[in-house]
Each structure stands twice: as C-alpha cells, then as structure tokens.
Symmetry: C2
Subunit: 221 residues, 2 copies
C-alpha cells in the first residue's frame, strides 16, 4: 500500500521504517523537504533516511497526494496545521490513521492534555477534514511497540481502533495485524478516541514509575 | 482491621461484603442510618444487610470514628460532602482508601469527568482532608473484580496505588494482596491519581464495546 507518514520525529521514523520493512511504499511528509534534507549529522532525519533508503521524503501535500493511506505522526499540537498543509483534497476519501496525542507541555512535566474529556484530537481532525476517513489507533503505546508488538510479551497486549467508517477501520485492522498486533479492540466511533487519548496521563505516570518504555496495556477479559 | 466503608451503593456493598469475608470488622457509613434502614424490599440495603449480618451500619461520622481505615465508595459527585460529614477529626491520621470516580452524567452517556487533566478527585480529597492519608486505588475496575480479582484470569491483571504517604500505600497494598491482587503498581504521589481516574473514559467505552463488566487492565512489561 502507498502510505504517507506525516512527521519526521521519532514516531514518524519508526512507523515509516516498520511499514517499509513490511513491503509498503512509504513517503514521509514534512513541512519543507529541502529544510529537512539540509539538516545533517547525528540524530537528523537525513542520517535516518540514509539507513532507510526505501523511504521517500516529500512535502505534506505531495506525500498525501500520492498515498492511499495517510498516517498522522506529527505532534498533536501541530497536527491540524500539518494536515491542512497536506490539503483537504489530498485527504478526501482516504484512510487517515491518527496516532498522535494532544499533549500539553505548557504546565510542566508530565504533560497534561490540550484537548480532553468532552472532545479529542481524533474528533477534531475528523471535523476539520470531514471527507477523510479518520481512524484513531496506536497512540496508547511507545513507537517501537506500535510497529513491532512482538518485541513485548510476544505481542500479548491490546491496541484500540476508533472511527466512524467501518471499512477504514477494517483497513487499519489489517495493517495492525500485519505488524503483529493480535488483539485489536474496536471501541466504536471516532468519539471513542476520547478514551484512547485519555489513557495517556496514566501511560506517562507508568513510564515514570516503571522507568522504561517497554510496556503496554492488555485488556484482560 | 476495623474498616469503615463509606457508601451503601453497589460498590460499597461489594467491598464491605468482600472485606468482611476476609475477616475484617466492617461498618458501612451512610448519611442517615435510620433512613437507610427504613428502606426495605428488593435491591435495598436492608435486604443486602440481612444477607451480610457481619457488616454494621452507622452514620458517616460514627463509622469513621470507630475505624482504622476509611474506604470512600460514595459516588464521586458527593464524596467531599460525605467525607465532610464523616468529619476531618475522624479521618485524621487514618488511611483513606479512595475508590471513587468523578463521573459527570450531566452531558449524557457515557459520562465525562467532572475533575480532570490538571486535578483529580483523589487530590481534591487529600487537599480537603490534609490530615488523612489518602490512597487512590481500585477505581479502574468493576467492584466484583476489586474484591475478588481471581474471578478474572486467575487474577492476572493490574491495580494501581497513588498516594503521598508510603506507609498508607503499604497498608493498602497489604489489603489488596489479601483480596487476591498480584500486580500492585505504585504510580507515585496522590497527583498520579489523575492517571488512574482518566482511564475511566476508556473503561466506559470498553464496557460499551465488550458488552460486559468482566474485564480489567493489565500492564504488560
């Protein structure tokens, strides 16, 4: 599948690399590809791209235009703006897999949520781009576990999907299962993204308490 | 241990019954014991009390005064008021195990949270009763699983504790382990109750999606 991964940060890189390894044709979308490419040295996207030659780099708009599925891995605070740059016509009709979290670092650490309780970033993206088929998923775990769930307890943990479009959720479920996720729980419509996003404050405190990122939620039932 | 369970609802009854079965001396606290006792018939506390003769009934204040540990199982909306009726002097120095959730039903179903994100009910109770040693726990699962975790997957799931007093958390941990909880995760100070309370929106949507209450979170790590 042709996939545009929006965002050049750690989450975007990990997902882009993982999806390319699974045989998908992946392009990373960024605000300004020239600026991104011009940054070199340790930790740069350029360094990462050299180690991942199968993954392309393009503007948000070009990446989205050429994709069948768009994955939002930008930081929550800029997601609506980044997707706006991708352009509503380039998102229309497509599955928009949103893995972002609306973290608010303005009050110190651990971050609070900028959108919470009676709304969610997933819903806000769906409202901003009504012709996209938004599915919230994967935002409840570390990026390494998103793409390679088997690294933790042989994959014996859960991932959630929220979205109003049943076919879009089915497409995402297929992608998740291809990655190795075995327990995909459909929470319901995009409104249920509130639940998935509001687990982040617990995730952040578990990270603080456990002292590492190698954990995930399993819904025992 | 002498335990006062504040609240005559389903959660209070289940916890009171379970703790009495474990050999604790349990009194249920209510606003007006005469009014509570006067209500009879199916589903009443009186009916339940007849089946659980070891459990006493008293006013919030009398129950708290005679207890070593006070357990708040009132609904979140009235918890501060109920504990105020118990009386700050009757809570001073005692472990106050808070299992309540600040659910807000005013916006329809599923409920939102009345306190969220930059505060929590656990913290609010600690601030209102600074001499009590508040520990937030057990609020992330159904009451039946709180008291009898082994009924689900032989107890292979997690429970969280948050609180500023290490000894109080140790007392609660002992009680939880006596109930059958095997994975007690200390999240940190009472501030971390935000994480435990904010999992409720996901819990509510899982309830909607799974269609039953027999589930719990396990932190796989």
């Amino acid at each position: 599948m042709k996939i545009a991964v929006m965002g050049t940060g750690a989450v975007g890189r990990t997902l882009a690399g993982g999806l390319a390894e699974l045989g998908h044709e992946v392009t990373v979308g960024t605000r300004n590809p020239e600026t991104t490419a011009a940054r070199t040295g340790e930790g740069s996207f350029t360094e990462w791209a050299e180690a991942n030659p199968a993954v392309g780099l393009a503007s948000f708009a070009d990446a989205a235009a050429g994709a069948e599925l768009v994955l939002n891995a930008t930081s929550g605070a800029i997601s609506i703006d980044a997707l706006g740059q991708a352009g509503a016509p380039n998102l229309a009709g497509k599955v928009l897999l949103d893995v972002s979290n609306p973290l608010d670092f303005s009050q110190g650490m651990p971050p609070a949520l900028a959108i919470v309780n009676t709304d969610s970033l997933g819903e806000r993206i769906q409202r901003a781009f009504p012709d996209a088929r938004v599915v919230k998923s994967l935002n409840t775990m570390n990026a390494e576990i998103m793409t390679d769930p088997r690294r933790l307890a042989d994959g014996d943990h859960s991932v959630f999907v929220s979205g109003d479009d049943a076919d879009a959720k089915q497409t995402v479920r297929g992608l998740l299962e291809q990655m190795g996720h075995t327990d995909v729980i459909d929470l319901g419509g995009i409104e249920t993204a509130r639940g998935a996003e509001m687990i982040l404050p617990l995730w952040l405190r578990l990270y603080g308490s456990l002292g590492h990122l190698e954990f995930n939620f399993k819904i025992v039932r």
